[in-house]
Symmetry: C2
Subunit: 277 residues, 2 copies
């Protein structure tokens, strides 16, 4: 049974639209810096542009060609850091090899850091300081739980993953929400021992088909966070079709990931706008 | 069966002593700022002084009386931040109420931050950047595993706690070490379901006697991280006596906590000395 992510996303967008319509001084603006014109980045940026317009957030794309120097990029970041009209901005990754990505990402003003790359926002997740911005992917997972009215305090949640940007903040955010969290990595022996007993399983392993119907119980809710592309086909970590047919609540792969990630991006843009004003 | 923490601490001290004896330009120095002369702080400082001398680290105590202003404290911190001879320093908590502790702690130069209070060191734990300093308590727990030659990759570890300074970094450090981590909080229903099956249980709940012999299996290793004082007696979270008599490996409460925490403090002082030189 598919979790009604469209409704969840629509609620986020509609709430945002109302909030933003009530602002009577100026509009929030989301910026995007694109250096390398690879097609996933372009697709993602189109989505951002489309939904930003929908909620009346201005969107500005700054395009650099591949020969841009690190210093030119840093200068432009400095400009946007000091531009009161840009509430928040993103730097589309990957950057060309001649540019030190870490240095560039650390130059973003923490209060304008859309993708949770700045240390200041990272540690705020760890210490549960809600003035910081959360990484967009775990953030929408939390948003799903809220929309489904799930009280996490009494839930056992298995999180399977391997990354600094999704797996670890996801586990910490669930700990902050006072859930019981079982954190497995891709080498954990017999992960199914945990998934079979859990109320919720969050898959962020990037291993297609890792979770099958027989690895869960009849009440388990499955959040499949991202996807893997193999020969132009898109796979999640869970066997979506069989699990979906079996009444277990599950997020569909693909499609929805873009929409919810962008929704939270815009939600954070609004938050940044209020903090920076 | 008590984990031989004395041997572990002695190894740390002896290794440090050798490393420091080989330095031929100048000696590392640990500083301590004490404002409020409460007796636990004084006892802790005496331990630091004693063991610092043992490994040939200089120790300097700066004492302020209770009427010190926030600005005076910040000025002194600025002085030590810029003093090449002070490798690292601590600010003994709690501070008097008229002083903003967060502001004071954030003023410490990250590379001299002994107690892991600075954001920069906190996020380095989250992203597994080993140039940062680790919080001393979870750090010695990791040190115990290393000393016992335990390969964490194949272990299931239950961590029970509630704090930002021990529980969360402990869980994250174990995730970084690629263990399977079950994180329970003090409201988790039936924690014994997890403790009974785990290879290792780390108790940081501050609930005396929470873990009894019947809540573990015959191979479970128990790390009891801190202690609670009730009517002048000191209790750990685990029923030390019975568990100890039953061949389960366990850390003793009290006594050893001071020694290992101070050992890691001095280990970090040496690391800071090398980074700052």
């Amino acid at each position: 049974m598919i979790i009604n992510w469209k409704k969840i996303a629509k609620n986020i967008y509609d709430e945002l639209k109302i909030n933003i319509s009530e602002i009577n001084w100026n509009k929030p603006k989301l910026g995007a810096i694109l250096v390398w014109e690879n097609s996933p980045s372009l697709r993602y940026i189109k989505q951002k542009n489309k939904w930003a317009k929908y909620v009346w957030i201005d969107f500005e794309l700054k395009n650099f060609n591949n020969s841009v120097t690190e210093q030119e990029l840093l200068n432009f970041i400095e400009k946007w850091n000091n531009d009161d009209e840009v509430s928040w901005y993103i730097i589309q990754l990957p950057l060309p090899e001649h540019i030190n990505s870490e240095k560039v990402l650390n130059a973003i003003k923490p209060k304008k850091d859309v993708d949770w790359f700045h240390p200041e926002n990272q540690w705020k997740v760890l210490i549960w300081d809600k003035t910081g911005f959360s990484p967009c992917t775990p953030y929408w997972v939390m948003w799903i739980f809220e929309s489904l009215n799930i009280d996490l305090v009494w839930k056992e949640i298995t999180v399977i993953g391997q990354s600094n940007i999704v797996w670890k903040p996801m586990a910490v955010m669930l700990m902050n929400a006072w859930a019981t969290v079982i954190s497995c990595n891709i080498d954990t022996p017999n992960i199914y021992k945990y998934t079979k007993k859990s109320d919720i399983v969050v898959m962020a392993a990037w291993v297609p088909g890792l979770l099958k119907l027989e690895n869960i119980n009849k009440n388990t809710i499955i959040i499949d966070v991202w996807f893997t592309v193999i020969e132009w086909k898109i796979y999640g970590d869970a066997d979506f079709e069989k699990i979906n047919n079996n009444w277990n609540l599950i997020t569909p792969v693909p499609g929805w990931v873009w929409v919810l990630t962008v929704a939270n991006l815009l939600k954070n843009t609004y938050k940044a706008f209020l903090q920076n004003k």
